[in-house]
Subunit: 259 residues, 2 copies
């Protein structure tokens, strides 16, 4: 299989760097093809702006989604964007690896999504009408591929528990896992989260490696998070609210998982 690792950490000799190297070696030993987008090493351009197209549709006022659509459809995207889209299309599974900074991914990876997730590629795909709201949330360009977050954080597991002060980790990651991965069609595997990274010693590192190896071996067999499909009949369109009989009375992020 083909695996893409999108990696965001400024230091190759960090815990993240070590785990990334381990993942690459482990996957290759299992016979898989691996590509790594090491965003800091690539000096990835983070901000989405008017330089992302080689030729503007409208030279004056810059409309991000209109220009993204035009550039994508006409093959006018900047080369770095097109190259990452090709990697996504090549991959059977994608691992997004990053330290949790301020409860989300580093800016450089956020900018990867903003720029690579073009209109026509990751959003604005398929029919948008009163009965169908695009191919998204379970359908889309990346449908059938698998994705997994590999996240490190200095906080303790209890800080991210059901009643922990930072909020439950699955809720903290929902805008990413649901909003950025389920959205263009990925099957999203449960995340591997490494907590309390300041207290890492050789024993714990060995344990973390073993956990990671297990998750890499399960990339094709582990059950994805059961996010609901937008166009599967459970949502009213165009309101995009859950039908009354689906997860009745439930509200919030958890209602969008078929539990």
């Amino acid at each position: 299989m083909n695996i893409l690792i999108v990696f965001a950490h400024p230091e190759p000799q960090s815990l993240n760097g070590s785990l990334k190297d381990f993942a690459v070696a482990h996957l290759q030993q299992a016979g898989h093809q691996v590509q790594v987008s090491d965003l800091y090493a690539m000096q990835w351009k983070a901000p989405l702006d008017s330089d992302d197209t080689r030729e503007r549709l409208i030279p004056g006022r810059f409309d991000p989604s209109r220009e993204s659509r035009h550039a994508f459809e006409q093959g006018l995207q900047s080369d770095d964007i097109a190259a990452e889209q090709a990697k996504l299309l090549w991959a059977d599974a994608v691992i997004f690896q990053f330290p949790l900074w301020w409860f989300s991914m580093p800016a450089i990876m956020k900018g990867w999504f903003e720029r690579v997730y073009a209109y026509g590629f990751a959003y604005g795909v398929g029919e948008h009408s009163d009965t169908r709201w695009g191919n998204r949330y379970g359908e889309g360009t990346l449908a059938g591929k698998r994705a997994m977050l590999l996240v490190t954080t200095g906080g303790w597991e209890s800080h991210y528990s059901a009643r922990g002060i930072n909020g439950p980790i699955n809720d903290v990651l929902f805008p990413i896992q649901h909003g950025m991965l389920h959205y263009p069609g990925f099957h999203v595997l449960p995340p591997l989260v490494v907590y309390r990274t300041s207290r890492m010693d050789a024993d714990r590192y060995t344990t973390v490696q073993q956990q990671l190896a297990q998750r890499l071996d399960g990339l094709w067999s582990d059950a994805p998070i059961a996010f609901r499909a937008q166009n599967g009949g459970e949502y009213q369109i165009p309101q995009l609210t859950l039908r009354d009989d689906v997860a009745a009375q439930q509200t919030g992020f958890a209602a969008h998982i078929d539990q």
Copy 2:
């Protein structure tokens, strides 16, 4: 009063640009002092990296938080970071204005937080022990100041409702409002969210301007979101989970608001 607007949109002639200009004029007419950090116009450097300090503590392996602490304490931060910290200290209220891209702030603003929120400035402040977990979540360098998000999105309000497919807007914004604003001490006002921006006409724009004017007039009097204080006795330390008798049985983001 002194108001800082941190603004992230690549096009000055956008809806966001117009609302920002309106906010500046409205606040100035009311006699306030206003500064704007227009991140795209400033070509703000988004990625946090080893260039953020003028002199490294450890020239080899780059440890983001250790270097941030050293640079902050020794006055070695790059000038752009120090300038933004000074604006935050100057401000009585800060408005963060951005289009919601992939359910969070644009990368350029995420990078503003990562770099400006230095160790010793926004985190790693105060005593960290078994009985006290730093001055954060209600205490800290920015305690007493007010913050408000001004957010635009293409989605409909129903898409962000209690059972809407994107998740409730307050949950989508929780990692920002709680994790990035309440954390260093801000009082966080409810956000002003402008939905369905593709259907903006002159009438709606007038209405939005009026809503914004009202919110700007209420910056000093509107009630903040009642996020709980970490060190106020409601959390167990160091686990940082809610005490059993606080919001008993409740889990998730909402448990951290005193309702």
